[in-house]
């Protein structure tokens, strides 16, 4: 029972980490930059969805879709304001700029949304089924399903559509892609929109299990970055799998050894894994062809 319930908890949390980390992957692949404040994007997803669904009383599905659209828009803003101006000059200041924009977003939410955490309860999410003697809520089943579906969607998009192939071209050689008539800046902007959209989706799904407040994404963002590095930031499936592995490891350590060891051991294992496999579990060493 201990292990089964840990597996269920770990799968749901792990796919959240995976989704956030997927956001790191998309932008890194296309532009070698990331939005370090992915946690804030996740928080915005939850806050937008809460505001539309609870404060304005919209039905859940339109509220969630609108929240995702707003998150994508936020991604465009991140790229335009905090990444492009610096990356264009070859500076690495985007690193601090994205963190700064995240802090601004957190504080803007603190002032507008309020200081108190709010409960985002969804009637359908409360139902549960019994699996192997363990209660599993619908939401806990939906989260990994949606996470994997989004990862699969990203995979299909990049392999099967014209736009996806254009993005892959940018990944391989931005200059050559530009010469072929591909709009590289647009591809990067779209990658950022997708990145915050994934984070927003994670935020909306986690909200009913958690509560909605301005710093709800901070720890998630940190763990997701560890996951992205662990997965080898260059592989979509790798990143998603690393998320699941991290979530399951956390839950299993807690269940088997006790919560005192969770953070200590899970992050120690990340370091060990990276020491043994410097390119991450599923990443490949970059080969620069001249």
């Amino acid at each position: 029972m201990l292990v089964t319930s840990a597996l269920i908890s770990g799968l749901a949390l792990g796919s959240m980490y995976g989704l956030l980390a997927l956001g790191f992957y998309v932008t890194y692949a296309v532009s070698s930059t990331v939005n370090f404040a992915q946690g804030s994007s996740m928080m915005l997803g939850a806050v937008f969805a809460y505001t539309l669904a609870v404060t304005f009383g919209w039905p859940f599905v339109p509220a969630a879709l609108a929240a995702l659209a707003l998150c994508a828009l936020y991604g465009v803003i991140v790229e335009r304001l905090a990444v492009r101006p610096f990356a264009r000059r070859g500076s690495s200041a985007w690193l601090m700029a994205t963190v700064a924009l995240g802090i601004i977003a957190d504080n803007a939410v603190l002032f507008t949304f309020g200081k108190e955490p709010r409960g985002f309860s969804l009637a359908w999410a409360h139902g549960s089924v019994r699996v192997a003697g363990i209660n599993v809520s619908y939401l806990q089943m939906a989260i990994p399903a949606v996470g994997l579906a989004l990862a699969a969607g990203l995979h299909l998009f990049s392999r099967k559509t014209r736009y996806g192939k254009a993005m892959l071209a940018v990944v391989q050689n931005a200059d050559a892609a530009r010469l072929m008539g591909i709009n590289v800046p647009l591809a990067i902007t779209l990658a950022y929109a997708a990145s915050t959209l994934f984070a927003g989706a994670a935020g909306i799904m986690i909200a009913p299990l958690f509560n909605v407040h301005s710093d709800m994404g901070t720890l998630f963002g940190l763990k997701a970055f560890a996951v992205a590095i662990l997965g080898g930031i260059t592989s979509a499936w790798g990143v998603m799998l690393a998320g699941l592995i991290f979530g399951l490891t956390e839950a299993l350590i807690t269940a088997l050894l006790g919560s005192t060891y969770t953070q200590l051991l899970s992050f120690a294992l990340v370091i060990v894994a990276l020491a043994l496999m410097p390119n991450g579990l599923f990443g490949r060493a970059e080969v620069k062809k001249v």
């Binding site: 319930s5 309860s121 301005s214 807690t254 919560s259």
Partner: protein, 384 residues
């Protein structure tokens, strides 16, 4: 030139007014998860200060509240405390609800010899800090006493034999682990298990499953409102609902909204409730609160009540201490606290509440057990 003279005169008169008031500092969470608790402390202090000022103040000087947000973070609390001590020159400093923040401020006030009064944070080492000259006083629950009361309540009310602990992983949780272990071993009992969780944990099911597997028939819960709600939601998902005897963390916010339908299962300790029969002081304070704050229309709107009640009594006792000292000089104010003989307060009538060996004015006889019914904190079993 005329303007310059006018400005100078204004500045001088402002300083003169400034010198007449006695500044009372408050460092507490005014934003984040515990914002409501910080607001409750502010309200308790403000109502007491208004009452004192209406009677002419202390030592012929009016009291003035200067408050700063610690964002529930020790580092920010220390910066805020230093600013209030050195720049605002407060005579007495009040703390907030976070034990880690108060513990960080304690060494500073003991070194600077300025009295620090805790109206909320319950960590045992805040007042029992080992300093030779201890400047820290408290009008609030104390973990080690609450812990004894929690065990007693679990045994009496739920006939619990094998309680497990689920504690937030911070100094407050640690303080309670020690206290609960001491209370249990005094009765020769061992806990079913001790589990910790992070304040931002989404899922506490693995920890709770361990406790369930160890045969726990009751849970001791210690955590602020958000984390406590996560425990209740995780229990809900597991379909396991043992009796939950909690420290007062859930009182700090919208617990029912956060924890969902099982919120009333958590029975938690309070020092005061504005529901039920009130003393004349209770009537007076409630009336003053309703007059000052338009959102307070009845006892249910004074939330969390313990913040308001503790802060009110603490401010009144502090004013008496300053009066006894005949000065705002730190060491004299400290002596002034020991000289308080009797005060008919909100929580109780205090008889010699402070001695050099005891800096805690409230004890286990003053606790009330409560639960959330809808959005109100009611004494357990009391219907609205």
């Amino acid at each position: 030139m005329r303007y310059l003279i006018a400005a100078l005169a204004f500045a001088l008169s402002a300083t003169a007014v400034h010198a007449q008031t006695i500044k009372i500092g408050l460092v507490t969470a005014l934003s984040g998860q515990s914002a409501r608790a910080g607001e409750a402390i502010t309200r308790g202090l403000s109502v007491a200060i208004d009452e004192i000022n209406a009677k002419g103040g202390v030592l012929g000087r009016k009291l003035e509240l200067a408050r700063r947000d610690d964002e529930a973070t020790p580092a920010k609390g220390v910066i805020a405390a230093r600013e209030l001590l050195f720049k605002e020159k407060v005579a007495v400093l009040f703390g907030g609800l976070d034990t880690p923040v108060s513990l960080a401020i304690v060494p500073i006030v003991n070194q600077e010899k300025i009295v620090f009064v805790g109206p909320w944070a319950a960590g045992t080492p805040i007042t029992k800090n080992g300093a030779k000259e201890n400047y820290v006083f408290r009008v609030s629950a104390v973990d080690e006493i609450v812990n004894r009361a929690m065990l007693q309540y679990a045994q009496k009310t739920f006939n619990a034999k094998n309680c497990g602990m689920i504690l937030v992983n911070n100094p407050w949780g640690e303080s309670n682990e020690k206290g609960l272990m001491a209370a249990l071993s005094a009765k020769g009992i061992k806990p079913a298990g001790i589990e910790k969780f992070e304040a931002n944990d989404v899922d506490v099911v693995p920890q709770l499953t361990r406790l369930k597997a160890a045969g726990a028939d009751c849970l001791f819960l210690v955590g602020n409102v958000g984390p406590s709600a996560q425990v209740v939601k995780s229990l809900d998902r597991m379909g396991w609902m043992p009796p939950i005897v909690s420290h007062w963390g859930p009182a700090g916010g919208r617990f029912t909204e956060l924890a969902g339908p099982s919120a009333p299962n958590v029975h938690f300790v309070q020092t005061y409730s504005f529901f039920g029969k009130q003393t004349p002081v209770g009537h007076k304070v409630l009336k003053a609160l309703m007059a000052k704050y338009p959102d307070i229309k009845g006892p249910g709107d004074v939330t969390p009540a313990v913040g308001v009640a503790n802060a009110y009594d603490a401010m009144m006792l502090t004013a008496m201490a300053i009066q006894n000292a005949g000065s705002t000089d730190g060491p004299k104010v400290r002596e002034g606290f020991y000289k308080i003989a009797r005060y008919e307060g909100l929580i109780k009538t205090y008889e010699r509440p402070f001695t050099p060996d005891n800096h805690d004015a409230v004890n286990e006889n003053d606790y009330v057990w409560t639960q959330f019914i809808d959005n109100q904190i009611l004494p357990v079993g009391m219907k609205k």
